[in-house]
Symmetry: C2
Subunit: 119 residues, 2 copies
């Protein structure tokens, strides 16, 4: 039962689009991610996913609108809703989602799919 410092954890990796697990509460994992550029359209059939911007600026594209997230802002993407994260500058995210959530959702097995590790 130790505390976690987000900046210390963010200093441990530099690879983009490869979330790292840094905590758990109930059946939810907390993951840190670094992103720049475009991801791919996907949805998560059974999992809500929360994105919180620590640093940078994320554009979260939905089929009917874009939402721009600045540091200190979060949004929950409900299960089943298609979305695509985009960042023009390197952006650091905290994500909260159920244990076992696949980063590419219904595109599991795509070239962007990664297995998250604990750091």
């Amino acid at each position: 039962m130790d505390k976690v410092n987000l900046k210390d954890k963010l200093a441990l990796f530099s690879d983009l689009w490869s979330p790292k697990i840094v905590g758990q509460v109930g059946d939810m994992h907390l993951k840190l991610g670094k992103i720049k550029g475009e991801f791919e359209w996907h949805s998560h059939e059974n999992e809500d996913e929360l994105f919180y911007v620590v640093q940078g600026r994320m554009i979260l594209r939905f089929r009917d609108k874009d939402v721009v997230l600045e540091p200190g802002e979060f949004i929950t993407v409900p299960k089943g809703v298609e979305h695509m994260p985009v960042a023009e500058v390197e952006t650091h995210l905290l994500m909260i989602e159920p244990v076992g959530t696949v980063n590419t959702g219904d595109n599991e097995g795509s070239s962007r799919t990664v297995e998250p590790e604990w750091i």
Copy 2:
């Protein structure tokens, strides 16, 4: 499906020890709280509880140690573990815990028990 800005939400209330719900992901509520002084010893029989410090400084007392949390740091208190939040200066927290979690846990009904509202 709108974004939430933590600072904007924190500006909406000033009462201490009275968490407000600002988001949900899966079966978890995200709550903001303002604290100063000492709370009371309690535990949550069935719920993990995560504390993230947005501003200030929290001392989380356990029966066998204290953990000091600065801004950008979080800790998960597992279900069943007795704890007491303390803050020497006004401190702003983000908490993540299951929907329905009572702030005073096994002391439900104490003078410190409050019903959280959405803001």
